[in-house]
Amino acid sequence: MQPQTPGSTAQADLAYSAKNLAVEVATKNGPKRLIDNLDFQIRKGEIISIIGTSGAGKTTLLRVLGGLLPATKSSEVLAAGKPINGVPDKVLMVFQDYASSLLPWRTIRRNVALGLETKYKGKDLDERVNNALDLVGLRKRADEYPWRLSGGMQQRVQIARALATEPDVLLMDEPFGALDAITKTSLQDELLKVQEKTGATIIFITHDVEEAVYLGDRVIALGGIPGRIVDVFEVDLPRPRHQIQTKEMPEFLHLRHQAYESVVEAELALRREQ
């Protein structure tokens, strides 16, 4: 399967485009390739789920897109049409480990203000922070410290902190991976609602295939070491999605089946190689 976006999308409509994206890190035994030869395009406003076997470079890919890790020189990676050099403008990472990425000495309000306080002051700042807190339903808890909140709420704070800066792109590394099933589904729906309101592009890593299909417009499956794109699934399910109805649709079940198969196959291939 060719991992290409169908149709010819104009460069201006692309949040990311990557040609021959590879990442190498230096080790004692010389350079080691973590991901190799990825080609993809991501349209603005798209929700992309990334699944794959462990070691396939999901997080590595996200860190490249977030400007935290450089790709090899031969890679051609553009964020909003510009080559990535450092963190691209209006791109924000949301980390899985919310507990260590929120600032424990700041109240929730001041955590959410983190990305705003150099630009806005006083009432303007308060209003933006309140709006972001409203998006995730945490305004009432604004003056508490994050570690007094449950895990799900802390992750919402992190999402609000990212949203407050009105990002064009949210890069999320297994953001719901550490949460229980119920909290997870409610946060999935909140995320979809927020995306509908803001139109942000979301690139989302998960190890949960069902979550990948439920959230995504497309699911990209990585596999192998170094990681490559093994499959891309178009998810043509109607929006807004619904935890029960959507998940009972034959197309959903079919896609979930295919995506599972893809991950399992990649896993088996990996074991054969080893």
Binding site: G66, L68, G86, V87, V91, L92, M93, F95, D97, A99, S100, S101, L103, P104, W105, R106, T107, R110, L114, G115, T118, Y145, W147, R148, L149, S150, G151, G152, M153, Q154, T165, T183
Partner: protein, 278 residues
């Protein structure tokens, strides 16, 4: 690090928040102290304790009056407190700046690590005679010794604090595109704050210790000098007044620092409180 949903709403009030001061005060501790003083007094008066140069508590209290009237005690306290605090303040600035620099810069650390490891293992007090030789019997000598000793405490603790900042916080700083200065003020310093505060407290204690030591050995001023003068004059009651003043000064300086920290840095205090609980 697991924080569950059940532990969300009410948490007992932070210590010292709403309780009245008189219930927070350790009255039993004061009572214990009075009992000890009483036993001391009785032991001295009945001759159970036969050391000639240990005065009874009442004699010490009597000596305070004399020293205050002469003005000796006030000027000694002011001198020692002034040098200890002034030296400590310099040490805080120097120690935090260098500590942050070494904590963040791998290059700076590689160049200095060996020297720091060697120098920090010397007890600061061994430098007092060296300082006397270089700077003479002067307040400059006293200040240098105090700054030197306190700087180590602040520097080492700041360094450890900065190196202990969680990678998650540094990545947060990165994704929010913080510049170097903002990264330091918004992330590194607050994240390292509880460690830095430990350094501040230890530094303040050591500043007082070294100030007194320098006064005993070399600088003719302050509480340490008063202590030696009265010792040589065979005036135990007056000597004990200086002796006790050093202790009281230490307690007061610590209490003031603690208060400033709690008022000025509520978030840090709350986060540190949480660290102690979990």
């Amino acid at each position: 690090m697991s924080i569950t949903a059940s532990r969300s709403v009410k948490i007992s009030p932070a210590p010292g928040s709403k309780r009245a001061w008189y219930t927070r005060f350790n009255w039993l501790g004061v009572a214990g102290l009075i009992v000890i003083l009483g036993i001391w007094e009785i032991a001295k008066r009945t001759g159970l304790m036969s050391f000639d140069f240990i005065p009874a508590p009442t004699q010490i209290f009597a000596a305070i009056g004399g020293l205050v009237q002469e003005g000796a005690l006030q000027s000694a306290v002011l001198h020692t407190a002034g040098v200890a605090l002034g030296g400590w303040a310099i040490a805080v600035v120097v120690g935090v700046v260098i500590g942050v620099l070494l904590g963040l810069s791998r290059t700076a650390w590689s160049w200095t690590a060996a020297s720091i490891e060697v120098l920090r293992s010397f007890p600061s007090i061994t430098f007092v005679p060296v300082a006397v030789l270089i700077f003479g019997f002067s307040s400059t000598m006293e200040l240098v010794v105090v700054v030197y000793a306190a700087t180590w405490q602040v520097l080492i603790n700041t360094l450890e604090g900065v190196r202990g900042v969680k990678p998650g916080l540094m990545e947060t700083a990165q994704t929010f595109q913080m510049g170097q200065m903002r990264r330091i003020t918004a992330i590194v310093l607050p994240a390292a704050a509880s460690k830095i505060l430990v350094g501040l407290k230890l530094g303040l204690n050591l500043a007082l210790i070294l100030a007194v030591a320098a006064e005993v050995v070399g600088n003719p001023a302050g509480l340490g000098y008063g202590l030696t003068v009265e010792q040589n004059a065979l005036q135990p009651a007056r000597m004990f007044v200086y002796f006790i003043s050093v202790g009281v000064l230490g307690i007061i300086l610590n209490a003031i620092l603690q208060l400033i920290i709690q008022v000025a840095l509520p978030g840090i205090t709350a986060a540190a409180e949480r660290g102690r609980r979990s």
